[in-house]
């Protein structure tokens, strides 16, 4: 005769609870969010990077990129209508800014735009053009270089031609002999928020 009372039923329930609690524990310690690494995540990063290259390529081809780089308010030492730090925090009022906003703006995607150029001491200086915050670990970047000559002219607020650039009125200094002025690389950093 069996003298054990209820042992098997309780053991089965305890075992079931153990299974469930270990599953809950495993789910809680691994935060599976839409930003977790996966193949589809990588795919989205590729799309963002390709979109950014497309925008840069188009802007470079039709001159918007140069206009945006030269859209500098010499007396205020910032981009036209930029913040006191020199950069924009939302978008910039040129076609290049509009393209970025169209491609990324309403899709939950944030972007920064940086300009890098050779500084007075020969080092590389990186300035913000549009800055929306620190990029996440999953950010991707596309860049495009642009050569400025001493004939390059600043743009006024209405995108009209202004004065010629020199080390006094422009953020990038004149580092080259002859007609060469400086090379500016425009970097677009894109990430999901």
């Amino acid at each position: 005769m069996v003298n054990r009372g209820q042992a098997h039923t309780l053991e089965a329930v305890v075992a079931a609870l153990l299974l469930l609690s270990s599953l809950v524990f495993a789910l809680q310690i691994t935060a599976v969010t839409p930003l977790s690494a996966s193949t589809s995540n990588q795919h989205i990063e590729n799309q963002q990077q390709a979109s950014a290259s497309g925008i840069l390529s188009i802007a470079s081809q039709n001159g918007d990129l140069e206009r945006s780089v030269l859209y500098w308010n010499a007396s205020g030492q910032r981009f036209h209508n930029g913040t006191i730090n020199g950069y924009y925090t939302e978008t910039m009022p040129t076609n290049f800014g509009q393209s970025l906003e169209e491609a990324f703006g309403d899709r939950g995607i944030a972007y920064n735009v940086y300009v890098t150029y050779t500084g007075t001491n020969g080092g590389v200086v990186r300035d913000e053009m549009i800055y929306r915050g620190e990029p996440s670990d999953n950010a991707v970047m596309a860049s495009r270089s642009l050569v400025l000559t001493e004939e390059s002219r600043l743009r006024t607020e209405d995108l009209e031609l202004g004065t010629q650039i020199d080390s006094g009125n422009f953020y990038a200094p004149d580092v080259g002999a002859g007609g060469y002025y400086n090379t500016v690389r425009v970097e677009v950093v894109v990430w999901r928020i």
């Binding site: 005769m1 069996v2 003298n3 054990r4 009372g5 209820q6 042992a7 098997h8 039923t9 309780l10 053991e11 089965a12 329930v13 075992a15 079931a16 299974l19 469930l20 599953l23 789910l27 599976v32 977790s36 996966s38 193949t39 589809s40 795919h43 590729n46 799309q47 390709a50 979109s51 290259s53 497309g54 925008i55 390529s57 188009i58 081809q61 039709n62 393209s99 169209e102 491609a103």
Partner: protein, 182 residues
């Protein structure tokens, strides 16, 4: 009376084991389900869709290979079923499958979407080469008689597809080239 000293009947035992087995089966069914979105996703479709999108936006449809993403109006119109382009285009073959290259058991839909006339909506565009450059892209009810910028299988009713998206310039406007594969 000795048979009544048992604390556990067969029924108790059955219920206990059933609970255990059901939970065990539930756990084993649930775990793969939580990981599924990170495992599947049509690996080959992802690779193909990126290749097709890159190929179209950087080579096949562009006016000049040194300026990728800037599409040629004539070649794009011909690609989407419009009249033949005057010059040579960078793709060969008659069907979409021959032109971009994808497997026999894959379906593709390629379209150009964007917003024209200052509207904020991203819609399907069409191309009217009889207009002057700069105003050839149209959408909505203006599309009658124009080349609709979409080609391939019908996307309606497709449950899961892989999408590749490129920002391109067509007729001096920034639009989206959308490649879908399933």
């Amino acid at each position: 009376m000795s048979q009544h000293t048992r604390g556990q009947t067969t029924l108790d035992f059955t219920i206990g084991v059933t609970i255990f087995v059901v939970v065990l089966a539930g756990v084993f069914l649930f775990v793969p389900g939580t990981l599924q979105p990170f495992e599947e996703g049509g690996q080959e479709n992802i690779v193909t869709v990126n290749r097709v999108a890159d190929q179209l936006s950087e080579q096949s449809l562009v006016a000049d290979p040194t300026t990728p993403y800037v599409l040629s109006g004539d070649c794009t119109e011909e690609f989407f079923g419009g009249p033949d382009a005057a010059g040579d285009c960078e793709y060969t073959g008659g069907s979409l499958q021959e032109r971009v290259g994808y497997g026999d058991f894959q379906f593709a839909n390629i379209s150009i979407r964007g917003s024209v006339d200052g509207s904020d909506d991203i819609e399907q565009l069409c191309y009217d080469s009889s207009k002057s450059p700069g105003s050839r892209l149209e959408s909505g009810s203006d599309c009658t008689g124009d080349t609709r910028l979409t080609v391939g299988s019908d996307i309606a009713g497709v449950e899961s597809s892989v999408t590749g998206r490129r920002v391109v310039e067509l007729d001096s406007q920034t639009v989206f080239l959308v490649v879908r594969l399933w």
